[in-house]
């Protein structure tokens, strides 16, 4: 990790320096009307090497999958194969235009069609739209679809969506963005949905339920079929949040247990890079009830020719052009390499790694649910009096590990949500568990080591309260 302070790009600027030389103008000029001409453009002026060093040095201030174990729960930080990048870099993808016409983009349409098919097959659904750009975007699409279907059934009074209290914040936020009311339902002591609580709220105001399965506690919802049947019986529809599909691909088709519509995060399960925040893809897949409502257009095939078509009752377009196409190429590359057998091995090893690590961690740390988990599990950071999860997370940084997800799910106090993924070796898991054991000891013997961590980073803990009170969001010279 690069510990040396790096100036802002503006602070490296010197008038007259040129980073990229552009060609001379080879046509007769046309004057730019003075009344509209921009008087000043305050951008930095740096040479190319300065730019290269600046951004290289910045990169060295990041933890990443390529450099560290990154067991961020619910984010599936698995290895992002380099072949994905090679496959996405063919000029035939990079420099083709979304409006060039189907006849000149058959290769791109073919890839999209094949990806739609394999994703539908993996989830046990009938059709797929590749448009949504992220998980939350897929959720929004799915809730729009549920709403449109309920209206078509003459059920416009169904405006409430049920969401377990263990769900990601995007679920209720997506409902609000779709003009629906999010209703929280509590979890039962075993971590699953409380069936009595569910029964109590299932009335004719309910449009559907959003379920993450496995849920954010890393537990498979054992009553999934019963829940889906109860919701369907009451006139509702079932949304599946596919954030945790890495535990299920090749193990269970969600479409076979009553899920009507589901998003998959291609940037989690299907190995495309997270890019420091994106781009992702949150494709939506649907069964017979909702497939006609998918966002469009989607790709169809006839006699070896591919074209865009719009599902008959489509909710409309969610995004410009063809979604995050470059990410689709990466995900397809990965699935094509793995095949059915590889996908099953992927999920099996993800769950095996999580359980192995769980058993090791359980020796020194409290777990919320000390039983067989799926791809992740939740420990609690209050390992000694006065020690908080945040301190544990920061101490892990000193030891060269990216911290797990912390303080989530909200229903577990001092949560440390750990997802190792299948691409980590037993040695890495052993080392991480040993470090956690050491930190548990330090928490008792040298709590100041935790309280003051991290010690070997470019900066210490930042005063986030002050930053939000008087925000500085721009360089102001």
């Amino acid at each position: 990790m690069n510990l040396i302070p790096e100036p802002l790009v503006y602070e490296l600027s010197s008038p007259g320096r040129v980073g990229v030389a552009m060609p001379d103008c080879d046509v007769p000029g046309t004057p730019i009307p003075a009344v509209f001409a921009r008087p000043e453009l305050k951008l930095p002026e740096i040479d190319e090497l300065t730019a290269v060093r600046h951004f290289t040095r910045l990169s060295q201030k990041n933890f990443s999958i390529d450099t560290q174990f990154y067991p961020l729960g619910s984010c599936t930080m698995k290895y992002n194969p380099k072949v994905n990048e090679a496959a996405a870099s063919f000029p035939g993808w990079l420099h083709t235009h979304p409006l060039v016409g189907d006849g000149y983009s058959q290769g791109a349409l073919e890839l999209m069609w094949k990806l739609q098919r394999v994703l539908a097959e993996i989830g046990g659904f009938q059709a797929v739209s590749l448009q949504p750009a992220a998980g939350a975007h897929g959720e929004l699409s799915g809730v729009f679809m549920i709403r449109a279907c309920q209206i078509a059934r003459g059920q416009s009074g169904r405006t409430r969506i049920l969401i377990p209290d263990s769900a990601h914040g995007t679920n209720p936020a997506s409902c609000a963005m779709a003009g629906m009311e999010a209703v929280t339902i509590p979890s039962a002591p075993d971590g699953g949905v409380d069936l009595d609580a569910l029964k109590a709220v299932l009335d004719d105001s309910v449009a559907g339920i959003m379920l993450t399965n496995p849920n954010t506690l890393g537990l498979f919802e054992r009553n999934i079929e019963k829940i889906a049947a109860m919701v369907h019986e009451a006139g509702g529809l079932v949304y599946g949040d596919g954030a945790n599909l890495n535990a299920l691909a090749g193990i269970l088709k969600p479409g076979s247990v009553g899920i009507d519509v589901m998003h998959y995060n291609l940037h989690k399960t299907f190995s495309t890079p997270h890019g420091g925040g994106g781009p992702g893809v949150g494709i939506v897949a649907a069964g017979s009830t909702l497939k006609d409502y998918l966002p469009g257009p989607i790709v169809a095939e006839k006699d070896g020719t591919y074209s865009f078509v719009r599902p008959s009752a489509s909710i409309g377009r969610m995004k410009l052009f063809n979604g995050n196409f470059g990410v689709l190429v990466r995900a397809y590359t990965y699935i094509r390499m793995l095949g059915a057998e590889g996908l099953r091995r992927m999920a099996e090893n993800a769950v095996l790694n999580a359980n192995y690590l769980r058993v090791l961690v359980e020796k020194t740390w409290k777990l919320k649910y000390p039983r067989i988990c799926m791809h992740e599990f939740v420990a609690m950071g209050d390992v000694a009096p006065g020690v908080r999860t945040l301190d544990v997370a920061k101490r892990l940084i000193d030891c060269g590990f990216h911290p797990p997800t912390i303080y989530f799910p909200l229903i577990v106090p001092e949560a440390l949500m750990i997802e190792p993924t299948e691409t980590e070796s037993k040695e890495t898991l052993d080392a991480f568990a040993a470090t956690l054991a050491t930190i548990a000891r330090e928490a008792v013997e040298h709590p100041e080591l935790l309280a003051q961590a991290p010690h070997v980073t470019p900066i210490g803990r930042l005063d986030e309260v002050a930053a939000a009170r008087c925000p500085v969001l721009c360089y102001r010279g």
Binding site: T30, R38, V52, F55, D66, Y70, E121, I459, P471, C474
Partner: protein, 441 residues
């Protein structure tokens, strides 16, 4: 298996530590009859084979490198300096997560802050967020922002000449809230007087879908006097030479940032950009990086004002956005830094001069007419014969002359939207003009 380090010996050791006999036993919670389904997928293949297969698919597409390229309409063929992908593809940037742990994410966070600063300068805005999915979803969320600032006002005025796919996305997003989307025509300054007490937002696309670059003088005053917000969706390359939307009094500025260092990529990933005035910052969706200090007073950067966001506020958040277009934003950050003051001016000037040269040649052709008053890099040509036919003929000659507007609107069958950027040489422009004349015969 590719990408899985566990050997059979590892697996056995791990199973015995867990205390179970087989991997299958880990899945006992899953309904027995549905467990381990058969997946009908092609058998997995090696890296070498997959690249051959995918390379063959990619080769079937027409690309801007193999044609004289004059097609824009929302996705633009601009030059991407070599350092942009070289730096952005560094694993430390590409394989990191959203920077929720600032001490080990200063690289991403400082880059976001630098991007915000440079984009705010282009727009003439106080604050820019860390990205939306694309220009269309950014504009849709900007309209929602305007409505949430004045919830009683349920009408939005958008240009009739707004990009058709932007209109579609806005309609999809707004359906839920029962907002009325009306369209304005004519000049922006006259249309602004249509803003009434029911209207929350007046939207200008700048230049609009057909290339017209409206004069925004006075628009903000009219819109503000009626109590609405003024939203401008701008071509960010234009801001290299043109007065910024902020200087015309825009409250919210959105843009499609693909032009700034990102490939066309068959339409994505693109970059939704959004900037606002300080007054609106706590309503701005998406992530924002801010400056902060640690206990020793060292400068660092952190995601801030998070009380707007879904992971804190859940259903009360200003938006549901979580994953954004981080790596695309980084490409744009590197692009803006490397191009800098001089490069951004130069690119905009080249687009301006070349587009105007092309328009002057085409406008002189018999039967052809340039339909715009003021334009930047894209203009509409009225054609003597159906434009779709011209496009077809020219494509066979290795020229993609633009977008036949009949693609979106059947009645505009004799209109061709031509885009000229710094990538087009004088030879290509002259070839385009000659070939158009030939094709119309």
């Amino acid at each position: 298996m590719p990408f899985i380090p566990n050997t059979e010996a590892d697996r056995q050791a791990m199973l015995s530590e867990i205390g179970i006999g087989s991997v299958e036993a880990l899945f006992d919670d899953i309904p027995a009859g549905k467990r381990f389904p058969k997946l009908d997928l092609p058998k997995g293949i090696s890296e070498m084979e997959v690249l051959r297969e995918i390379g063959a698919m990619a080769a079937k597409n027409a690309t801007a490198s193999n044609f004289a390229w004059f097609l824009g309409a929302g996705a633009y063929n601009h030059y991407i300096p070599a350092l942009v992908p070289a730096l952005a593809s560094r694993g430390e940037f590409m394989t990191s997560y959203t920077p929720y742990q600032p001490e080990v994410s200063q690289g991403s966070l400082q880059a976001i802050f630098e991007y915000q600063s440079m984009a705010a300068e282009l727009f003439g805005m106080d604050v820019v967020n860390a990205s939306h999915y694309d220009g269309a979803t950014a504009l849709a969320e900007a309209v929602i922002l305007a409505w949430r600032s004045a919830p009683g006002r349920k009408r939005v005025l958008v240009p009739e000449a707004l990009h058709p796919e932007y209109k579609e996305v806005i309609r999809t997003y707004l359906k839920a809230f029962d907002l009325k989307v009306d369209e304005w025509t004519g000049s922006a300054s006259r249309a602004a007087s249509g803003v009434d007490a029911r209207t929350c937002a007046f939207v200008v696309q700048w230049p609009d879908f057909r290339g017209e670059l409206h004069d925004l003088a006075g628009v903000a005053d009219t819109v503000h006097a009626a109590g609405a917000l003024f939203l401008v969706h701008v071509d960010p390359i234009l801001t290299g030479i043109w007065k910024s939307p902020g200087s015309y009094g825009a409250d919210v500025v959105t843009a499609e940032g693909q032009s700034l260092g990102n490939a066309m990529n068959f339409g994505g990933p693109f970059l939704g950009m959004m900037g606002v005035t300080t007054k609106l910052v706590r309503k701005l969706p998406g992530r924002i990086a801010g400056e902060a200090k640690d206990h020793e007073g060292r400068r660092g950067f952190v995601l801030t004002l998070t009380a707007r966001e879904q992971h804190i506020r859940r259903e009360k958040a200003v938006s549901n956005i979580c994953s954004n277009q981080g790596l695309v934003m980084l490409q744009t950050c590197i692009y803006l830094a490397a191009m800098g003051r001089n490069g951004m001016r130069k690119v905009a000037e080249l687009c301006w001069h070349k587009a105007h040269y092309a328009a002057s040649l085409i406008g002189r052709l018999p039967g052809f007419q340039v339909a715009n008053g003021t334009f930047f890099k894209e203009f509409t040509v009225k054609t003597p014969v159906p434009a779709a036919g011209i496009v077809e003929k020219l494509e066979r000659l290795g020229i993609v002359p633009g977008l036949a507007l009949s693609r979106y609107e059947a009645k505009r069958d004799r209109e061709l939207l031509v885009c000229v950027t710094e990538m087009n040489t004088r030879e290509q422009i002259e070839l385009l003009a000659r070939s158009l004349q030939e094709a119309a015969k």
